[in-house]
Amino acid sequence: MDFEEFVAARGEALLRLAQVLTGDPFTAEDLTQAALVDVLRRWDAVCGASHPEAYVRRAMINRFLSWRRRRATSEVLVADLEPHSRDWLADTTADLAARDELRRALSSLAPRARAVLVLRYYADLDDAAIADTMGVSTGTIRSTASRALAALRLTMTPAGREGR
């Protein structure tokens, strides 16, 4: 498989993953391009690997974490979320509100924790595959995910974390 064939087949999926990781379409495009440039440098080796997409995903995660580390010093935390009831809202509106609340809660997580959740709940990778992608142990993934979920539960309102 050449590089163009791979990107034609999997480029959109990679862009979607970048979008979920970054939450911003412009940064997602940059992240996808940067990851593809990384693998293009050694494409012959990448396409010779048993799972080229896993290689590209790893490049993307590494880039994402690296970018976030560099930008961390200039980021300002948003104010604490203010709990309030949404009982009176219609179900659909409540779903939207819950997702919005979740997005704000996700933005307060460490990049590594967010990446674990994205790989687990969006990319549907099991913990072993996530560990391989991020270059850490399976135990670390489990504990990171557990702490991340606990942080979300702590941050979000009861209605928000129940999705209503």
Partner: protein, 354 residues
């Protein structure tokens, strides 16, 4: 595992995924971006050895045995080369529109004529297979419909880096002109003139080198089947270290896509896969890297094909290490490269796992 929060995470991520921009031509953009990075990374100083475009089309410094028997790219010194001129003399037969590297030297827009400084390298090329590529700060390419008077270029992709100053103005005029519709073209005195219906005009000369970085010092270059390649050495802005450059493309007029560049790190110094450049050609590979001091022989071994291939070495002025390069029938994850000293002992090895 399917508690509400986790369901909400899945739903939210799925929704976020739909908010992306169009995928566009990611592959072409990545290739263009890689090319741009290479040019920006290596700040070249000093003039290069000579590979030049010759009248009547593009010239290659040296040609390799196309029969497939030769494992060694020939040394540049083994083949006559011509010093790179500052201005190609307009002598000899006119160059072909197709297959020539055209470099912008002047444009006229809205009645104003602008001469392009030498450090702005805006190139246009046609591959003769219905395609074109160009760059003017950003990169573009797509289909080219040619006849003997007119050319219609369809910009199928372009990159979108921010460009300012004269470089940005050159891009605005070039992209605007070539994307404006049918262009009249003419070649006279080795100058290609493209004229739009608006009267805007682009004037190109034959670029002095076909290679992406014209000032890198060519160690070996040539043709191999339909491919063109070059192995070169360049100074860098990373202190005293040099860079090894491998340029590969699938024929005249196509973009330079294969290969890559790396700091001149000798094999065996722990850099692993980063210490080797290689590119797949149709049914073989070209590999290049840096042999440590004391190397007199260097052999590529591929256990899959069982082939042992001796690679050529190219000395580098002022250095005790040398650059090796050659064609091998197969290069896989299990391939190895061994450097031997005069006593026949292995002084360094390369393998992907290092």
């Amino acid at each position: 595992m399917n508690e509400p929060l986790e369901q909400l995470l899945r739903a939210t991520f799925r929704e976020d995924a739909t908010r992306m921009h169009s995928a566009g031509d990611l592959a072409s953009s990545a290739r263009a971006r890689l090319g741009k990075q290479r040019r920006r990374r290596w700040q070249i100083v000093g003039s290069g050895l000579a590979v030049m475009a010759v009248a009547g089309g593009i010239g290659i410094a040296s040609a390799v045995n196309d029969s497939g028997g030769a494992a060694h790219p020939p040394a540049a010194s083994a083949t006559p080369t011509t010093p790179e001129p500052t201005e190609p003399e307009p002598t000899g037969p006119e160059p072909d529109l197709v297959g020539t590297e055209w470099q912008l030297i002047q444009f006229a827009s809205s009645g104003q004529t602008t001469t392009i400084p030498a450090d702005i390298d805006s190139v246009l090329r046609f591959d003769g297979k219905g395609g074109f590529s160009a760059h003017a700060c950003n990169y573009t390419g797509g289909s080219a419909d040619l006849d003997d008077q007119r050319v219609v270029l369809d910009m199928g992709y372009s990159t979108a880096m921010f460009c300012s100053g004269l470089e940005g103005e050159v891009q605005r005029v070039v992209f605007g002109t070539i994307g404006s519709g049918p262009l009249d073209w003419d070649i006279e005195r080795h100058r290609l003139v493209l004229r739009a219906a608006s009267g805007d005009t682009l004037v190109y000369r034959v670029r002095a080198s076909i290679y992406p970085d014209p000032s890198a010092r060519t160690l070996t270059a040539g043709e191999r089947g339909r491919f063109q390649y070059r192995v070169a050495i360049a100074d860098t802005d990373s202190g005293p270290r040099s860079a090894v450059i491998l340029d590969v493309r699938a024929g005249p007029g196509t973009g330079w896509n294969g290969g890559g560049s790396m700091l001149a790190t000798p094999i065996g110094s722990g850099a692993g896969a980063e210490a080797l450049l290689f590119s797949e050609l149709d049914d073989e590979y070209i590999v290049t890297g840096v042999a440590p001091a004391g190397t007199v022989r260097i052999v590529h071994h591929d256990p899959v094909s069982g082939a042992d291939t001796e690679l050529a070495r190219y000395p580098v002025d002022g250095e005790d290490w040398s650059v090796f390069a050659g064609f091998v029938p197969s290069h896989t994850n299990s391939s190895t490269i061994s450097a031997y000293d005069a006593g026949g002992d292995v002084v360094a090895t390369w393998s992907r796992d290092r």
